[in-house]
């Protein structure tokens, strides 16, 4: 047994000592113990992509970033679209990090036939999802929502319009015109989310939508929640800090020089899909997080060097996020730790089928510079690499090795 001494526990007013199952002792002065984080959109890389991530590297990256639980997308090989696949998937990573797979919503993520929702739901899963793939056919989507009801299964959907979603590699805007890059329009998300919400209204299905990136998307979500629709939205942490201008190497003015994020234009680390959008979209996303209608995901998408050392248009989209999401969120929220913990931990926890009991020890005042070269993830493609942020994760204690917080010291 060991101790964290003189630490501030989330929700309490006085500093005290907390017992932890494994040493060494930690001096908790200046540190805070907060509920551990849950990622809502993690691309695990395994099985199928050993050059991106391994169970060991993903577990290490999660703990380094303060994450005890990861909701994983089905973008692996083979696509988990049968109960047999779920039995094979690892549910616990080295270090005690738990994995919550969302098996595919359609067979092979092909958008044609539903997977076996009933048999899949016998496993403890947060829902079904086609990951980053937009369910193009509205009839398939309607049927999925109607069929899911019997099993109380949540659908995790990325909103998009089938034809507009295929367009472009950056946000469609005057800025894209200048860079000579084809744009993906904000209307893609607006149309896609409208379509989902119409079907939710008709079917009563419960959905999680994300990652959202547009002002119109936030407004639609706001109205849907006010209306009482069972819809939850999330946003990627990096899109609270960066906007489309990073593709040219420019940061939002609010961040000052942002650290060593000196970028050449067309840096493929910021090749994302959906893309980073306009400055006003970023502000709308921040407002949504502050209002607690949007949770924040790490949106962890590891990519191998050979997938990124390419022309901008040809690079595989995606950025790692587990090891920078906390500091990115805290920085974007101006140091508001309560809002940060709500967005990264308390909100997302409600979407898991079982309780989350882990704790994360953080220093809310430390200045850190994101350095992907030192990340535990196998991948180095963090869009925030080089950025100076506020907040640092000191340690993470997943549920099975959590501190004994509830007993007063």
């Amino acid at each position: 047994m060991a101790w964290i001494s003189n630490v501030l526990v989330w929700g309490e007013a006085q500093r005290r000592n907390v017992e932890i199952p494994i040493g060494p002792d930690i001096d908790g002065a200046g540190l805070t113990l907060v509920p551990s984080f849950v990622d809502l959109a993690c691309d695990p890389g395994f099985p199928g992509f050993p050059q991106r991530e391994t169970p060991q590297s993903l577990g290490d990256a999660a703990l380094a970033g303060g994450y005890s639980d990861l909701v994983t997308r089905p973008c692996v090989d083979p696509v988990p679209d049968q109960p047999e696949h779920l039995a094979d998937l690892r549910r616990s990573l080295p270090g005690g990090v738990r994995v919550w797979p969302t098996p595919a919503l359609t067979r092979g993520q092909a958008g044609q036939a539903l997977t076996e929702f009933g048999l899949l739901s016998q496993f403890s899963i947060p829902g079904v999802s086609d990951g980053g793939v937009v369910v193009a056919d509205s009839l398939i989507l309607r049927n999925a929502m109607e069929y899911a009801q019997r099993f109380a299964l949540t659908l995790w959907l990325r909103p998009g319009d089938p034809s507009l979603d295929a367009l472009g590699v950056v946000h469609d805007s005057p800025f894209a015109t200048v860079l000579g890059l084809r744009g993906n329009p904000a209307t893609n998300e607006e149309i896609g989310l409208s379509r989902i919400l119409s079907l939710v209204r008709a079917s009563g299905a419960s959905v999680v939508v994300g990652p959202l990136g547009t002002r119109a998307g936030v407004e639609l979500l706001r109205r849907a929640r006010a209306e009482g629709l069972p819809v939850t939205g999330y946003v990627a942490a990096r899109s609270l800090l960066l906007d489309e201008r990073i593709v040219e190497g420019s940061l939002p003015e609010a961040l000052g020089d942002g650290g060593d994020l000196a970028r050449m234009p067309y840096d493929t680390r910021v090749r994302l899909h959906p893309p980073l959008r306009a400055p006003e979209d970023r502000l709308a996303l921040l407002a949504g997080v502050r209002e607690k209608i949007l949770w924040v995901s790490a949106d962890h998408a590891p990519r191998a060097p050979e997938e990124k050392e390419l022309e901008f248009e040809r690079a595989v989209p995606g950025s790692t996020g587990l090891e920078s999401a906390f500091a990115a969120t805290l920085t974007a929220l101006g140091g508001d730790l309560a809002a940060t913990v709500h967005a990264l931990a308390l909100g997302p926890r409600a979407l898991l089928p079982e309780p989350v009991t882990g704790w994360t020890l953080i220093d809310p005042n430390a200045e850190t510079t994101v350095n992907a070269a030192l990340h535990r993830s196998l991948a180095r493609n963090d869009a925030l690499d080089g950025m100076r942020l506020r907040g640092k994760v000191i340690a993470c204690f997943p549920g099975d090795r959590a501190p004994r917080v509830t007993e007063s010291a």
């Binding site: 005057p174 894209a176 015109t177 200048v178 860079l179 067309y266 040809r314």
Partner: protein, 316 residues
């Protein structure tokens, strides 16, 4: 002063543009001599690396290099074979091992020359990257205009056609506005979208609106290969509403210059009789292209303080 590379005209200073155009005027004299060759780049190696088909730009760069006595090496990379094969960076590493001093690159992706420029110490000349920029074309167009108009300051330039997908238009727009010209554009809504507001141009809806008081009318090639679905109903519809025929040319000033980066689609964006009219500067553009590219190679390589035998390429 010109920098390490020539990647884009956006951000290039007025002084640098003037330096390039003035140097090009001197280079043009070389082409008028009986012996069309001068020695400043003797022993230097210029590689042309083209991932898209090109005849005129590639030939123009190669001729420019040869007139400056540089050695040239030409790589044509079939894009379809690289899609699943060697990456751009691996191709570049191979060529770099041949120790070239400059690489002239054309590529279908915006930013590809930037990738080559930041990863290798060679000098990169962008010969067209996707729909981003084609800076040497912009410069040769500006030289052609300056020849006739004497000054680009205050010149009124109309660009008609697919501005959205045109790297030629972008380079002209940045270069011309830096030099004090005013650029207006016209084209179908799918080719001159609202998003053009990122460029320093004024957008009008009809060709008639822009030709009337223009000093220069620049027509863009309708590139069928670039067009996706429903961008344009048909070439004849384009010709009817945006093509420059003699009737429309008569609405313009009598001394208007008509330019086109080529190759032209006769009867689509330009009437056959207009292409051959005395207002057409299309062939002067070709001649000036060689001079501008000589100037660029000379300024990028000839002013290099390192002597060829001192150049370290970092390849062991």
């Amino acid at each position: 002063m010109i920098g390490k590379d020539l990647l884009q005209l956006r951000g290039m200073s007025r002084e640098t543009i003037v330096e390039i155009l003035d140097t090009a005027e001197q280079m043009r004299e070389v082409g008028r001599r009986k012996v069309k060759k001068v020695p400043p780049l003797r022993g230097r190696l210029v590689v042309t690396l083209f991932f898209e088909n090109s005849t005129r730009t590639k030939t123009s760069f190669e001729l420019a290099a040869k007139r400056l006595s540089a050695d040239t090496l030409s790589f044509n990379v079939n894009t379809s074979s690289t899609t699943k094969g060697e990456t751009l960076m691996d191709t570049a590493r191979t060529i770099y091992a041949m120790q070239p001093d400059a690489v002239v690159v054309r590529h279908g992706c915006a930013g590809a020359p930037h990738l080559l420029a930041r990863n290798f110490p060679w000098r990169v000349l962008n010969a067209g990257d996707g729909i981003h920029e084609h800076p040497s074309q912009g410069l040769l167009d500006m030289l052609t205009m300056r020849d006739q108009l004497k000054s680009l300051d205050g010149a009124r330039v109309a660009i008609v056609g697919d501005v959205q997908h045109s790297r030629v238009a972008r380079s002209n727009i940045w270069g011309l506005t830096t030099m004090g010209a005013k650029v207006v554009v016209a084209g179908p809504g799918t080719m001159c979208r609202n998003e053009l507001s990122g460029l320093p141009v004024e957008r009008r809806h009809t060709i008639d609106d822009v030709v009337k008081d223009a000093d220069v009318i620049m027509l863009l090639r309708i590139q069928h290969e670039r067009l996706g679905r429903a961008v344009l109903p048909s070439p004849r519809e384009y010709a009817a509403f945006y093509g420059l025929d003699l009737a429309r040319l008569r609405m313009a000033r009598p001394d208007v210059m008509v330019m086109h980066p080529g190759p032209i689609n006769r009867g689509v964006e330009i009437g056959a009789d207009v292409a051959d009219s005395e207002q057409s500067a299309i062939l002067a553009q070709v001649t000036n292209g060689i001079a501008v590219r000589m100037a660029l190679l000379y300024l990028l390589l000839g002013s290099d303080e390192r002597r060829p035998d001192e150049v370290s390429h970092g390849v062991d």
